[in-house]
C-alpha cells in the first residue's frame, strides 16, 4: 500500500508540515493545498489516490470542495476536522466523504483508515448472489446497477457495498460490526453512526416509504437485515 499519492488539504501550515513529514515517512507521496479552491486545482493536476480534507477553511470550505471532487471522481475522501458533532459528520458523509476522523488523531489510526480507504472493495463480487429481483426492486451486482420500479437509481460505492453485503446474507440479520468491517475495513466496528447515515441514504433511494422500510430493516440491538419478500 505504500507509495499512494495523498493530497493534504488544510489551512494550518503546522498541520500540513506534520502530515507531510509523517505521511512521507510512511512511504506516501504528498501534495498540499491550503484552500478548497487550491484543492480542486491540485486534484486535477496531482491526481491523488486519496484526499485528506479539512472542513474549516477560509473561502471555499471543505464540504463544498468535497462535493465538487466527488461529483466527478470516486477517489476516497477522508475528512479531518476538529468538529465532532453528529450533524457535521452526517453533512460530511452526505457530501460524499468516505470517512471522518476527528482532530487530534493518532497517526497509526489515520494510517489504518488510509489503508482501508485505498483497499476499495473489488468492483465485481467474489461471492454472493449475482443479483436480486422483486416486483419493484431490481439489483444487478455484476453491472453495479439498481432499478426501483424500473427507474435506474445511482448508489455511491459505499451504499452499493452495503446493499450487496446485506443481500448476500439472504435475509439474515447482519451485525453492525460485520457490516462496518465488510464495507469500510477491518479496523472499523464502532462507527454505527456511519451505518445509520448510509442505511438512511439507501432507504431513501430504494424504499417506497423510507420511514416504514420493506427491504432494509433494523434489527434492534444487532444490526440490519435485507428482507426478502415472501420469506420471514
Amino acid at each position: 500500500m505504500s507509495g499512494a499519492k495523498i493530497l493534504v488539504v488544510d489551512d494550518e501550515p503546522q498541520i500540513r508540515r506534520m502530515m507531510r513529514a509523517t505521511l512521507t515517512g510512511s512511504g506516501h507521496q504528498v501534495d498540499e493545498a491550503r484552500t478548497g479552491e487550491e484543492a480542486l486545482e491540485k486534484f486535477r493536476a496531482f491526481l491523488p489516490d486519496l484526499v485528506l480534507l479539512d472542513l474549516n477553511m477560509p473561502g471555499m470550505g471543505g464540504l463544498e470542495a468535497c462535493r465538487a471532487m466527488r461529483s466527478g471522481s470516486d477517489v476516497p475522501i477522508i475528512i479531518l476536522t476538529v468538529r465532532n458533532a453528529e450533524k457535521e459528520k452526517v453533512e460530511a458523509l452526505d457530501a460524499g466523504a468516505d470517512d471522518y476522523v476527528c482532530k487530534p488523531f493518532g497517526m497509526q489510526e489515520l494510517l489504518a483508515r488510509i489503508r482501508a480507504a485505498l483497499r476499495r472493495a473489488p468492483s465485481s463480487p467474489e461471492s454472493g448472489p449475482p443479483g436480486f429481483v422483486s416486483e419493484d426492486l431490481e439489483i444487478d451486482f455484476a453491472d453495479r446497477r439498481v432499478r426501483v420500479n424500473g427507474n435506474p437509481v445511482r448508489l455511491t460505492p459505499k451504499e452499493f457495498e452495503l446493499l450487496r453485503h446485506l443481500v448476500s446474507r439472504g435475509g439474515k440479520p447482519v451485525p453492525h460490526r460485520e457490516l462496518l468491517q465488510a464495507v469500510w475495513g477491518p479496523d472499523y466496528g464502532d462507527e454505527t453512526d456511519y451505518l445509520r447515515v448510509f442505511i438512511n441514504h439507501l432507504r431513501k433511494k430504494i424504499e417506497a416509504d423510507p420511514a416504514h422500510p420493506k427491504y432494509v430493516l433494523t434489527e434492534p440491538w444487532v444490526g440490519y437485515r435485507f428482507a426478502i419478500p415472501g420469506e420471514q
Binding site: 498541520i15 506534520m18 482532530k103 487530534p104 430493516l217
Partner: protein
C-alpha cells in the same frame, strides 16, 4: 369682558334695535302697521338666531309694547282694543322662542362638533407622542405627560400592573391615590366622578387589564375617555412587544456570538494539539530504545489528556452559554444503551454488565447522541470508581410518563455529604481525586444534557456497597419509526 356684562350689553342692544325700528317707522318713514309688524318680527328672528332666548324674549316684549303704543289704535296708549293685536303679540313671542331654541340647538351642535374634533386631534397627537417613546416605562411616562399637555388638564396618573409601578404627571397632585388606581386595575370597572372632575379608567386590550389611568380636572366625553384608554393600552402593549422582541434578538445575538467564539476557541486549541499528537504518534510507531519510548508515551498521553480537558471545558461552556439544543426525535432506549456499550467496549471488556431493560419500553423523545454521551459518562464513572472486574448493572423502566435509566456499580460509594456535590462543576470525589484521572466536568455535563431535555438526574449511594446514577427522560407518545 365677563359673561354677565356681555349679556347685559346684548339685552340693551336688543331693546335698542327694536326702539330704532319703532322710531324710524313712527317718525321718519310712515308705513302701515303690517309692515312695521313684519319688520319687528324679522328683527326678533335675527336676535333669536344670533344671541338666544332671553335676548329675543326681551326684544319681543319691547316690540309688543312699541307696536301697541305707537302703531295700534288707539295710538298713544297701551290699550289693546282689537283682538288681532293679541295675535301680533303672540306671533312675536312664538317666533322669538322657536327661533331662539332652534338656533341654540344648532349652535350647541356646532360647539359639540368642534369639541369632538378637538378631542380627536388631541387623541391623535397623543398617539403620535406615544409612538416615539421606546421602552414601556418611557411610553407610560410620556403618555401621562402628553395627556396633561394635549388635553390641558391639571394632573394624570398611570398604573402599570406588569411593572407594578405608578407614573404621575405631578407628584404633588395625589388626589388619585395608589390604592384607587390599583383597585380599578384589579376590578376592571371605570370610576367617573363628574362632580370632582375625576375619572379613573381600567386600561386593557382584549379583555385583559394591564393597568389603570386616572385624570383630575377632566371634562372629556365618555367616548373620548374610552378612546384614550384604548390608545394608551395600544401604546403600552406596542412598547412592551417591541421591548420583548429586542430582548429576544439581543439574547439570540449573544448566543450566536458565544457559539462562534467557542467554535473558534475549539479550533485554535485543537489545531496545535493535532500537530503534536500526529508527530508524537508517528515517532512512537518507529523503533526506539525503551527510554525514548517512555518519554514519547508520556507526551502522547498528556496530549490526549489536554484534548480531553479542552473538549470537556468547551462542552461545559457550551451548555452554560445555553447553546445546547438537543436535536430531539423518538429513539428506542435499548438502541441508545447498545450504542453507549459499544463505545465503552474497551473499558468494559473485563466487566459483566447486567441489563434489565424490558422489551415493552416506550421510546424516549431525546437527542440520541447526547443521551448516549450521558450513558457513556455514567459507564465511564462506574468503571473508574469500582474495583476491576466487579459487575455493573444498567436498568430502565417506564413510570409516570418518564423513562428512568440507571447505571449501578459495586464500588466504594459516595459519602452522603458529597452526593449533592458530585454534579457540581469541577467537583471531584475527595477519596479518589488523586487516583482517578478526570476534570470533574463529566457529571455536570451529563446534568446539563439531561436538564436540556426537561429531565432529571440524581444519585443514590450507600458507602461500601456502590452507587446508582439515574436519570429520567420524557416518553415519546406516538409511533416509533425504525
Amino acid at each position: 369682558m365677563s359673561a354677565p356684562l356681555r349679556w347685559i350689553i346684548r339685552l340693551l342692544a336688543s331693546v335698542a334695535l327694536i326702539g330704532a325700528i319703532v322710531f324710524v317707522y313712527f317718525r321718519l318713514v310712515p308705513v302701515n302697521s303690517t309692515t312695521v309688524a313684519l319688520t319687528l318680527l324679522l328683527a326678533i328672528l335675527a336676535i333669536a338666531a344670533k344671541w338666544g332666548l332671553t335676548e329675543s324674549i326681551v326684544a319681543s316684549i319691547a316690540a309688543v309694547l312699541g307696536f301697541n303704543y305707537f302703531f295700534l289704535p288707539p295710538v298713544g296708549t297701551f290699550t289693546i282694543a282689537d283682538p288681532q293685536n293679541w295675535v301680533a303679540l303672540l306671533a312675536f313671542l312664538v317666533t322669538a322662542i322657536t327661533a331662539s331654541q332652534l338656533s341654540v340647538r344648532a349652535r350647541g351642535r356646532a360647539a359639540e362638533a368642534i369639541a369632538r374634533r378637538q378631542e380627536v386631534e388631541r387623541l391623535y397627537a397623543l398617539g403620535q407622542a406615544m409612538l416615539l417613546s421606546g421602552s414601556v416605562r418611557n411610553t407610560a411616562r410620556d403618555a401621562v405627560n402628553s395627556i396633561i399637555r394635549t388635553f390641558e388638564i391639571p394632573a394624570a396618573a398611570f398604573f402599570s400592573k406588569a411593572e407594578n409601578e405608578f407614573f404621575r404627571s405631578d407628584p404633588q397632585t395625589l388626589a388619585i391615590s395608589d390604592e384607587l388606581l390599583r383597585g380599578i386595575a384589579d376590578r376592571g370597572e371605570p370610576l367617573l366622578d363628574r362632580e370632582h372632575q375625576m375619572a379613573v379608567l381600567p386600561i386593557g386590550l382584549g379583555g385583559q387589564v394591564i393597568g389603570s389611568l386616572g385624570f383630575v380636572g377632566c371634562t372629556l366625553s365618555t367616548a373620548a375617555l374610552n378612546a384614550l384608554a384604548y390608545l394608551v393600552a395600544i401604546g403600552i402593549e406596542r412598547a412592551r412587544s417591541l421591548e420583548q422582541a429586542n430582548r429576544t434578538e439581543a439574547a439570540r445575538q449573544s448566543e450566536i456570538l458565544k457559539a462562534t467564539l467557542l467554535d473558534a476557541l475549539a479550533h485554535d486549541l485543537k489545531t496545535p494539539l493535532t500537530s503534536i499528537k500526529g508527530a508524537v504518534t508517528h515517532l512512537l510507531a518507529q523503533q526506539h530504545d525503551p527510554g525514548e519510548n517512555e518519554l514519547l508515551t508520556i507526551a502522547n498521553e498528556e496530549a490526549d489528556r489536554l484534548n480531553r480537558m479542552v473538549v470537556e471545558v468547551l462542552e461545559m461552556a457550551r451548555i452554560e452559554a445555553a447553546k445546547l439544543h438537543p436535536d430531539r426525535a423518538p429513539h428506542a432506549i435499548d438502541d441508545i444503551i447498545a450504542a453507549a456499550l459499544r463505545i465503552q467496549e474497551e473499558a468494559l471488556k473485563d466487566r459483566r454488565v447486567e441489563l434489565r431493560v424490558p422489551a415493552s419500553l416506550p421510546a424516549a423523545n431525546v437527542d440520541f447522541e447526547f443521551i448516549q454521551q450521558v450513558l457513556k459518562q455514567l459507564l465511564d464513572n462506574a468503571v473508574k470508581y469500582s474495583p476491576p472486574g466487579s459487575p455493573l448493572e444498567i436498568s430502565a423502566e417506564a413510570a409516570n410518563e418518564k423513562i428512568v435509566i440507571s447505571v449501578a456499580d459495586r464500588g466504594a460509594g459516595i459519602p452522603e455529604e458529597e452526593q449533592s456535590r458530585v454534579f457540581d462543576k469541577f467537583y471531584r470525589g475527595r477519596a479518589s481525586r488523586d487516583e482517578v484521572v478526570g476534570t470533574g466536568l463529566g457529571l455536570s455535563i451529563a446534568k446539563g444534557i439531561i436538564e436540556a431535555h426537561g429531565g432529571k438526574i440524581w444519585v443514590s449511594s450507600e458507602p461500601g456497597k456502590g452507587s446508582v446514577f439515574s436519570f429520567a427522560l420524557p416518553i415519546f407518545k406516538g409511533e416509533l419509526v425504525q
